[in-house]
Every structure is written in C-alpha cells, then in structure tokens.
Amino acid sequence: MTERRREVRESIVRYLARSLRSSFKEVWSYNLGKVSVLIIGFMVLASIYSLLSLPPDFPQMWKATDRPPWTLNPKQGYPVWVKYLGVPVAETVSYEKVRLQEARIVVPRDPRDCPPRDLDRVLPEFNKSLGLKPSCPLGYTEVYRVSYTLAGEVFPQDVVIVLKAMASEKVNLTSVSVIPMVFTTRPDGVTLYTFEGKYTLERLVAGIEIKMRCDLFAPRYIEYYRLNTTVDSLCTLLNRPIFGEPLDARASGFKPITGEYQVTLALLYTGVAPRDIEGLIRNGDVSVSPSIRVIGNSYGLLGTDTKGRDLFQGLLYGFPVALIIGLSVAFAVVAIGLVLGVISGYFGGRVDEVIQRLVDVIVNIPLLPLLVLVGVAIQTGGWTGWPALTIIMAVLVAFSWGGVTIIVRSMTLSIKAEPYIEAAKALGASTWRIVFRHIIPQIVPYATAVLVFSVPGAIIAEAGLSVLGIDHGLPTWGRILADAQAERGVAYAMWWWVLPPGLMLGLFSFAFVALGFTLETIVEPRLRRR
C-alpha cells in the first residue's frame, strides 16, 4: 500500500514539474516566442550592465551639461564607427598621465631657451599677426608632449588641458603659480603658440580644464582684431585656424590639414625660486599631473548630443528605466483591474455599482490633458528624477485600470454562472476558495496577456509625455528623443541621436507584443497553427 502511495505522489510531482517547465518550452517552440525571449533577455542583461557600469548619480550627471565629462566630449559628435561609412572623422583622444618629456630651469640669459628649444619653428607671421609672443619669465619648466593623428579631412573641435595638482602642507598654495603654455605643431611644420594662463596651485588642487580655443585662443583673437564679440560666440569657429590652413589671404575659409599633430604643453612654475620648486617636486611635495584631450568630431558608440553628452550612456540608462516603467505600470494596472473586476463581478450589488461608476469616470476622463497638468504640477512643485517619474506612473496607473476591470468583471460574471462554481458551493467551498481556486485561475491567462501587451503601452506613454515636454529629469529613451526634438537634432539630421532610442522603443514594444502573441497562442489552443 505504501509503495503505491509513493508512486501516486511521485507521478503527481512529476506532472507538476513537467507543466512548469513546459510553459517556457512552449514559448521557446515558437519562432516569435524565441525572438521575444531573446530580446527581453538582452534587455534584462543590458539593464543589469547599465546598473553596474553607470554611476548611481547618473541622472544628476546627465542634467549637468556644463560640467565634465560632457564638456570634454565633442558636441554633436558622430559615433566613431561612421568612419567605416566614409564619413571624415576626427577621433577624440584622451592622453591621461602624460609622460614628462623634460624638466629644466629656464635661464633668461640664453634667448634660445625661451621659448623651449624645440618650439623654434613657430609660425612667425601668424603668431606675429596675432600679436602673440611667448612670455619668458624665469622659472622651472616641465614639458609634456603628445602626438595626435588626424585621419579625416575635418576639424577637431578643441584641445583641452586638464590640470590636477597635489601639494603637501609645506607648500604655500597661494604663492606658487603655474603658467601652462600650449604649442601645437601641425603636420605642415607650423607651430602655433597659444596664450598662457596663470593659475595658483590652490586652483589647480581643485582641478581645472582649459579649453584651448575658447579659454586660450579666443581672448587673444578678440584682443588683436578688436572684435566686438564674446569669447563664447567666437570660440566655436576657432578650431579652424588651429587645425587648418587659410584658403586665401583674407582667411575667409580654412581647410583641415590631415596628418600627425604634436601637442606640447609647457608648465612654468612661478612665484617661488626655481631651485626651491625643483626641490619640492623631487620630494613629491608638489605634483601637477596634466592630461591632454583632443576633442575630435566623433565620440563613443553612439555619438553625442548638442551638449556633448554620451548618447550610448543615455541609451544604456534607458534600459532599466524602460523595464521598470513598463513592468510596474502594467503589473499595477492588471493587479488593480483583476482585484476590482473580480470583486465587482462576483459580489455584485452595491460594491459592483460603486466600482462600475468609478470606472465610468476614469475611463471617460481624457488622460492626456490631465497628464500635461500633472507634468506642470511636477515642475512647479520642484519634483524631479524618480519621485517625479513615480508620480507620472501613478497617474498612468490610476487612469488605466478601468478597461481591465470591465473585462475581468464580465469574465467573472460568466465564470460565476458555470456549473462548477455551483458544484463548489454545493461542496461547501468558501467564497475565498471559489474566487481563488475557481475564478481567478480562469482569468489569469487573460490577465497575463493584458500584462504583456500593456508593458510597451506604458513605455510609449512615458516617451510621449517626454516629447510633450513633461520633464521628470531622468535620461529615458523618451527624454532623449524629446531633447533631440527640442535641440533640433532632427533638423540637423543627427540620426544617431534620434534613431537608437526610437529603435529601442520599437524593439522593446515588439518583444513584448511578440511574447503576448505567443502566450495567447499557448493559452488559447484554438489559435495554434500546429
């Protein structure tokens, strides 16, 4: 007897296990199911990767467009791989921890030492015409040099010098200053000398980025030509005289020069005796570590937007956000719809009446104007980031459960009339048992289908709201598209800005709709083709 009992139990357990495993197998057995599983799996992996690789404060970072890293990227930068499509590309290269070329004390008695020896072949006419003359005070000088190859016939956008100093307590930070001098030796042999700044160690300890064309070049340009303009408005064009040669004598246009560029950075220490600073540096009491970044016209896998933000990172951040928005809104809508629909249908009476009137109201309120209002309220209320997004999601949920409720109610009404419900009552089953064992299992397949189908709906709604200008501040796909729209990325044909988030939205929707179709086929065997 015990033998048989065990057999019975084993067979039941085996059957259960088989039915659980088989639902995945069933999805996998359809091509559409396979595709959807692969895409959703990819989305999940991308989300995990994004959460692990991006800093936790990425949304704040994304909004701070006036700060690095975005300021060190090209603006409207192409994706790097467009060079394989024949687009002329200037790479963005960062030279971190540049090796010290030479360090010596400049002696003013020897004019050949000033400027440093190997910078002799400065383009005399051009520099003279700009009134530029390298200053030559006495001091301890460090020289750093990198070489950059410009492959495409296009102007790199800028060269940025990043200086970061460290100093021990022995050093008086305000008295020691550093004068960085940048020389660019072009493939045509011309060396351009750009203006030097003067920064105290105190400032350098905090870290500083100096943009060559704006911070160094433009003031001189304005000064020389007595231009009635600001540095900001002028410096967008100043990469041309650095990386190109004038097309004519009046320099009405420039042509980029391809080939190898040498960027030399000389750091001149002042405000303290040269021997003293040399000693401090040797002992490690003062160290200034420079890095040089040539900003080309391309950056990263997916390029940058008009503010220099890396669109690949933005897109990556969109994965977990899209999954969270889609799944949580869909889950909440289906859960509320299921619970209220079952209550309404099964218990009827006054409860039913109340729920149905509520549904009438929320189904008939136009959602879009309401959401716009909510968006305005969020902005005036100063909400931003996840709290703002949560509010938007809550409103989406609050006005979307009506449809599910109506359908679940009518399903419940028809299931309630099934003889097996009466049979369960006759057996003495409690109301809860009837609802949970007999009614809800019948509705679950439908609820699953609704769930899967409403995931993309929520994402699309969020994207639509972003484009309408409801700003929750998170870099979602919809937000990136909205930025592209606002910054005229579409008008400038910045396809790398518009297409990837658009395609991701499409792919995301497709995956869930495909999964929905597959589940539908499984749940409703009459739809099966085999």
Binding site: R4, S11, I12, A423, A426, L427, G428, P441, Q442
Partner: protein, 364 residues
C-alpha cells in the same frame, strides 16, 4: 430526508413604476412540494423541462437564495456524529432530536450538512473546473472540509476513483477533464460527491447529456452505489423508463408540484394522473416499425408560464382527460386537487381518481 411544503419563488424583474409600487411577480418554480426519502431508498423526480425538478434539487442543496424559499423546510437525518456535532453548535436547527432543518444551519453547521448531502450535476462538461486535474477535483471536498493528511487524501481519492471504476486511479489522477470522455467525467463528478462519504446523494439528470452508449456505464455505477453503500438517492430525470430502471419510488412533477408519487412499477404500470400517462406514452419504442407509426401522446399544448399558473387544477389546460370526462370539469376548474393516497403508498393529485372515476381514459 423530509421535504415539507417547499415553495421556491423567484422574483421577476419588472419596470420601475411597478417596483416603486411594490408589485412583484414571482416565477413559482417550486410551489408546494412535499416528499420524503428513506435511508437507502432511491426516489426519482420525473417531469418535463421547467417543471421544477432541478430547482427542488438546488433548494435541497441550499443553492438557491434563502430569501427565494418562501415556505417549507427540509429536514435531513445526517450521520449520528454529525447530528451530535450540530446539536452542540446549533441546537435550534435540530428538530425532534433526529432531524436537522437544513435552512436553519449557519456557518460550521451548514458546512457539516453540506458534507452530508452531495449532488451530481447534469452537465459533466461544465460541472468540473477544466483547469483542475482529476486528482484536484476529487480532492477538493476533502480539502474544503479539512479531512485527512496529504497521504490520506491521496488514498481517499484513489478509493473514490476505484469506486466509480476509473482504474487504475493513478492514471486518471493526473489527467485534465478534457482528456476524459463524458462518461468518465461524470464518474469523476460522482467520485467527487462520494469522497466525503455522504448519506444523501442528489443526481440531477446525470446521464441525459451523455451518449446513449455510455449511459450504461454511469448507471451501472449508480446501481452499485445503491446496493453497496446504502446511500439515499434522489435521482432527477425526464425519462420515466430510466426512472423505473433505477428508482424505488417515482414522483412525477408538473409545473412546480408533485402530481403523482408511488412505487416505480405501480407508477409505470398503473399511472393514475393523465400527465403521468402522457409521459409514459412519450417514451420511444425500441421496436423500429412501431417508431414509424404516428403515436398519439395524450397531452396538448405547451407548459404554461410559471408566473401565471392556471386557476384550479394547473394541468387542466393541457389535460386530455379533462376534455373527455365532462363530469369532473366542475372540480378541475374550481379547485386544485391535493395529493391523495388512492392506493397504498400511491398518491395522486387528480380529481378523476380522487372522485372515483375511471383512471384509464379511452385514449390509452
């Protein structure tokens, strides 16, 4: 079990004004039904569609709204342990120290009564949840009433399935209803009803939706249950030939009332009520050439609405005997006949036998 003067009236939804004035019409689905079923006895309720057989069964099962049960009570004699338990929990539901008035039970007492009275429904395709495996279906009553450990329940389910000849039970336990034939499903329903070991079983047309070829297997199960378990059975059918085969006594119902009740062979061989005669005449003949002959079933018209029950004898508008026996018309029009014991244990509600007229009309 005793059913006493049971009336189940369903209100008819009417217009706003009528509802406001408080005028309510009722469908008198069951309109004063009394009968009793002894222990181990099988009673058949026979009648055409809409006569109130199923409503009677549902009223016994407490499946109708309590407010729709206008009069009457259902007294049920459960197992001794159950009776003891109920007299402890709810002494006011116990009548004469041996019966339980089922409509007075509430909560736990009601649940106990439900474990004692079970029903098998007409539709074996609808009465089993299509998403549950046979094991879960048959186990459910045990789970609901909290009986046994998991192992004991597996054993009980296996035994119940064996009792309805679904062998080997392990093969059937893991199947879904759609993998079973109609007969097998109905036997699963029977197993579900039996697994609690009830003392009363109702069967509401259990074979009328099955193919003729598989009716026998289900009826066989019923016969065996009767002989082996000593179960009281109320068997509802519209087929009087089947009733004779399965039942000890037959009660013929017409428009919410029992018009004739008695031992099966007496009812079938010596029917006293014109309606019973019509039912018997309507049974198809197995001899093929007889089937081709035009048969006269001694009844006319259609069953009237249960909202407007005819004055006097409710069968009068359809009665052939009423047309033929002029002498009795006065009674039929004036007053509804009650059930009168015309022969020993044979009750009939028709003025002709009551007033001593010839029970067999010329038309038979």
């Amino acid at each position: 079990m005793k059913v006493e003067d049971l009336r189940v009236w369903f209100p008819v939804r009417k217009g706003f004004i009528e509802a406001l004035l408080g005028r309510v019409d009722y469908v008198r689905a069951v309109d004063g039904v009394s009968f009793d079923v002894d222990k181990g006895e099988t009673l058949c309720l026979v009648g055409e569609s809409g006569c109130g057989k199923t409503t009677t069964a549902r009223a016994i099962m407490m499946l109708v709204d309590r407010s729709d049960v206008k009069t009457g009570r259902i007294l049920f004699k459960p197992h001794d342990e159950v009776l003891k338990e109920i007299s402890k929990i709810q002494p006011n539901a116990v009548v004469n120290g041996e019966y339980v008035d089922v409509y007075k039970t509430r909560g736990r007492a009601e649940k106990l009564i439900r474990s004692e009275i079970q029903i098998i429904f007409q539709d074996p395709f609808g009465s089993i949840n299509p998403r549950m495996r046979v094991y879960d279906v048959v186990e459910e009553p045990l789970v609901i009433h909290g009986i046994g450990s998991r192992e004991e329940r597996v054993e009980a389910v296996a035994k119940a399935l064996e009792a309805v000849k679904l062998t080997p039970p392990e093969d059937f336990m893991v199947r879904y209803p759609h993998q079973l034939s109609g007969g097998q499903r109905q036997r699963v329903a029977i197993a579900r009803a039996l697994v609690l070991n009830p003392s009363m079983l109702l069967a509401d047309e259990p074979v009328s939706m099955l193919d003729v070829s598989i009716r026998a297997e289900v009826l066989e199960v019923f016969n065996e249950l009767k002989s082996k378990r000593g179960l009281s059975l109320i068997f509802i059918t519209h087929d009087i030939a089947l009733a004779r085969y399965i039942c000890d006594r037959i009660a013929v119902m017409y428009l919410g009332k029992i018009v004739e009740i008695g031992r099966s062979d007496e009812i079938v061989e010596k029917p006293l009520h014109p309606y019973t005669r019509a039912l018997i005449r309507a049974v198809p003949d197995v001899v093929p050439e007889n089937r081709l002959r035009l048969r006269v079933v001694p009844i006319k018209g259609e069953i009237p609405s249960a909202v407007r029950i005819p004055q006097g004898c409710r069968f009068r508008p359809r009665c052939v005997a009423y047309d033929e026996n002029e002498w009795v018309r006065g009674f039929c029009e004036k007053e509804e006949p009650g059930l009168v014991e015309v022969e020993r244990g044979h009750y009939v509600a028709c003025w002709i036998p009551i007033k001593g007229g010839s029970s067999h009309s010329s038309s038979s």
